[in-house]
Amino acid sequence: MSEKKPETKRKKRPLTPKRREQSRREFLRASVLTVGVVGASLLGFVPVIQGNALRLRPPGALKTPDDEQEFFASCIKCGQCVQVCPVEAIKLADLPDGFGIGLPYIDARAQACDFSCDGLQCVLACPTGALTHDLDYPADTRMGFARLSRPKACLAMQGKGFKGQARGPDYEGLLRYEEVDRWNPIPVADYPYDLEICDLCVRQCPIEIRITQCEENASDSDQQQLARVAQQMGNECPPKHAITLEPVDLGDGVKRMKPVVQEGCVGCGVCEMICPVESAAIVIDLDKNADTVMEG
């Protein structure tokens, strides 16, 4: 023991002035570094508070129309949802979204979610439940709620038809057309329309397509087959209509139709995507969903 004492003393010898000065500086620098890095990370709060990070999220995102905090917290920012989406609708947010960096979102006008996968692949891919597994069918989704934002621009409201490629020849967006290919979405540009009165938002609505499929004549075995496949893939028959076309009479003798958003709308954004008017006459509101609309 007598030998150990001087050893411990040697270790506790006070630092030389030079060493002390160095460790003082190291401490000061470390303090500045802490403030700097933590400060920089907290800047991520700014876009969140300003509401600039609010976006159309993939199906099942843990959020209410005005609060995405739970989604921000639960997402691990890995992008597995991006990888499984057959129409590549999902993108990851960048640094300007602050805390929302790496969070998946959908730019509906560029590429909406048309439930081509039937079974909500993004939800199944999510490792953290940020896209909640409580969701069973596309019709249960609550992404937002469609609204005819520019009724005067709407072709149907003007009594006009539509002929040609919905979004022009250069548009890269994809949709699934059952009659072309049950499994693979094709470019919208490859599917020109010729419509007496424009009903694209209703015609292409995935919920409406599914309802029509379910209602098809039982004697039509092809349609039955499709309906059964979809059901097996996890796409049950939606209980409510999402959008309908209703006649409007302005008393000028022109046959006009109005797209009316119904309680079954999930906010997937296909109507906004397919609307041939620039900019879209129908858009998705993020601050609403079918549930909040029904409540009041």
Binding site: E3, K4, E7, T8, R10, K11, Q22, S23, R25, E26, F27, R29, A30, L33, T34, V37, V38, A40, S41, L42, G44, F45, V48, Q69, E70, F72, A73, S74, C75, I76, K77, C78, G79, Q80, V82, Q83, V84, K91, L92, D94, L95, P96, G98, F99, I101, G102, A125, P127, T128, G129, H133
Partner: protein, 325 residues
């Protein structure tokens, strides 16, 4: 036990006191005493120059860079060619269907969200076991894409420092533990995964797989800071991922082993090391035993193994090495 205690102390930024004479084994004492005054400063200098290495790449560095690039390219190729081999990114992935979750990212999510779903638990356990077997901070030097960029920045930094254009500034190493606690608390209190916003590991991994973005500017700033102000600052003083895996590595059988017998104590290993405090035991009188393992803050990068002129530092797999010999 002592290894665990020393490792954790170092991970959290404390200095392990040098062993006193009576804490050293008689064998190692004999070695130190036998070497007393054997090498002059000029001899050490000559040794240093001799073993500076003729090529840029050394054996382990080559292997490590190749591994790092291949792992990250696997993610990229898997998505690009849609082969579903390694889906996701470094924060969370599915490797041929099995869940993998970065422990630090998962921890941030768990603290912010305050729930954990089963898939995440599976992913965490898988990754914990994987890195526990492979060395913990092995993640840093063998997988993290920021580490690679930072290594390049380090060469620039050292070159500029040699030309006396810049000076390296050091920080108190304890600051990394402070960051660890702060980011854990921020996740818990704010309910946002605050660290993920600035994590260059996540940003780079996503940029590689899903395409570059503005977030790369932040990574660029970090690199500039490392080139011109402080060598390897992010990995050394900030990154909580390193702390997480430093703790995992405490239980790892993959370690760098130090043998005091032939060591000249010339200190080349500490000059190339990302975390030179783990090599304090290579200083004369620094080791308590003849053979001693480098503590778990070591990233198992192999730079010291490459540079050591006497093979006093070697990779070992505890338990396995004996079988292999």
């Amino acid at each position: 036990m002592r290894y665990i205690k020393d490792s954790l102390l170092q991970v959290f930024g404390y200095k392990i006191p040098r062993p006193s004479k009576d804490q050293q084994s008689p064998e190692v004492r004999a070695i130190y005493e036998g070497k007393m005054g054997k090498l002059s400063k000029a001899d050490l200098e000559a040794l240093h120059i001799e073993h500076k290495g003729t090529t840029f790449f050394k054996k382990w560095q080559k292997r490590r860079w190749a591994t790092l690039i291949i792992v990250n390219l696997l993610f990229v190729a898997s998505f690009y060619f849609d082969v579903q081999l390694v889906e996701g990114s470094l924060t969370g992935a599915r490797v041929v269907g099995f869940h993998f979750a970065d422990l630090n990212a998962a921890l941030q999510v768990a603290l912010a969200y305050k729930h954990i779903v089963l898939n995440l638990v599976i992913g965490m356990v898988t990754v914990f076991i994987m890195w526990m077997l492979l060395g913990g901070r092995t993640f840093c030097s063998w997988v993290c894409p920021y580490h690679l960029l930072s290594e390049v920045a380090e060469y620039l930094h050292l070159w500029l420092a040699k030309k006396k254009i810049i000076k390296n500034r050091t920080f108190s190493r304890k600051v990394r533990s402070v960051f660890y606690v702060i980011f854990a608390l921020l996740a818990l209190v704010t309910g946002y995964t605050v660290f993920e916003t600035i994590s260059p590991t996540g940003i780079l991994s996503r940029a590689l797989i899903y395409g570059p973005g503005i977030a790369l500017v932040w990574v660029g700033l970090l690199l500039l800071f490392e080139v011109f102000y402080s060598r390897r600052a992010w990995c050394r003083y900030v990154c909580p991922i390193g702390v997480t895996y430093g703790m995992v590595g405490v239980f790892s059988p993959v370690r760098v082993k130090y043998n005091a017998e032939a060591c000249h104590h010339e200190g080349d290993c500490r000059k190339v090391c990302l975390v030179p405090h783990v090599l304090d035991l290579t200083i004369r009188n620094g080791a308590a035993e003849v053979n001693q393992d480098v503590a778990s803050d070591c990233t198992r990068c192999g730079m010291c193994v490459d540079i050591c002129p006497t093979d006093s530092l070697t990779f070992e797999v505890k338990g396995l090495s004996k079988m292999l010999k």
